[in-house]
Symmetry: C2
Subunit: 192 residues, 2 copies
DNA sequence: CCGATATTGACAGTCGACTCTCAAAGTTGG
DNA sequence: CCAACTTTGAGAGTCGACTGTCAATATCGG
């Protein structure tokens, strides 16, 4: 029971913190204000999050990689790695419950919108790129640090990032669709 | 003469600051240490750089958007927008004096490596994407917010970003080459 | 209900970024 | 050299992040 209570408090603190950061900015928000908003003592905030920056670190982000790996493996063998990646990403988003998808969008947009949040999670982006490289390497039988594998991973992760960044600035339709569309520009380049 | 003396002191402070940041990290370096290393008083540091973060901002930095625009216009008409972009980027880097290129690499790597710097310059990434979209729109005669134009801009800017990010983590060869290679995965996708 | 254990709040205190002020020292034009 | 001007050093002071301690409180096993 301790665990559940602890996690509940932790989530409340982080939720309020992110809300305040989005409102008035990271630097302009004091830990004391976060504590007050979450209805806890300042010392309690530090007990859950060693530093103020840690309030920005989103855990539970990487679980996306597991279903992605499965969806990727389920792709038809005749597809190229790029087509398979595109298909797998679309499948993962399609299979996601609406509530979870909405929560993820909100988090991802916050991550691109709040500068400090982005910098705190830069490592996650790099990890995502590595994960994609691993997938492609496994499927193609090449080494994960093969130039072609790494190059493909760069392009795909970069396209996903840029699609999200652009979508967050001008939300129209579905982010998953934006990602798929961006990838389509690599798989089937339109004449321009 | 005031001007020259002021600039000299400013450069000395920033040089020592960057050296210390590279050595022990940004957060682990105090302004007092920077002042001592530069042989000035702490208050003098703040007189030249309003905040500690400002010690990271290199002046004399001009975005390569202008030369890129020129190089893009100079590309052969028979190339696709994508090929022209790739060629223009390569041309800009090739035409850049060695010293300037080295300085640019150093700065770009710092920007991706030091989170504090990245968060300060996130807006530049979005602007770069818009600029690329403008170039493509102008050349293709389509609107800058055309879905295909925006999609292409997303993929290209994303690829550049990812290439730089990856290169900064594992520097081999030339960043310009990494960018070109990433773009080649879109123009001439290798079989994978 | 009771004791063991985990969590919290309140509080004091350190440290560094940053501001403000004023006197000292260097610089320039005359 | 003098006088106006600019920069600098020094110091005091504010504010917020962060640490450590201790008593109060909540939960659990028995």
């Amino acid at each position: 029971m301790w665990e559940r209570k602890r996690a509940k408090a932790r989530n409340a603190i982080q939720r309020e913190a992110l809300r305040l950061f989005a409102d008035r900015g990271f630097a302009a928000t004091t830990v004391e204000q976060v504590a007050e908003a979450a209805d806890v003592a300042p010392s309690t905030v530090f007990r859950h999050f060693p530093t103020k920056q840690d309030l920005l670190v989103l855990d539970g982000y990487h679980p996306l990689l597991v279903p992605l790996r499965e969806a990727f493996a389920a792709q038809p063998a005749e597809r190229t790695a790029l087509q398979a990646l595109r298909g797998a990403l679309a499948a993962v988003f399609a299979a996601m419950p609406d509530a979870e998808r909405a929560a993820r969008y909100e988090r991802d947009v916050a991550m691109v919108t709040i500068p400090e949040l982005w910098s705190a999670n830069l490592g996650l982006v790099a990890k995502g790129m590595d994960a994609i490289a691993d997938l492609v390497a496994e499927r193609s039988g090449r080494a994960p640090d093969d130039a072609r594998v790494r190059g493909l991973a760069r392009v795909v992760s970069g396209a996903c990032f840029a699609a999200l960044l652009d979508w967050s600035r001008n939300p129209e339709g579905d982010p998953a669709q934006a990602i798929d569309e961006a990838l389509s520009h690599i798989t089937d380049p339109p004449p321009l």
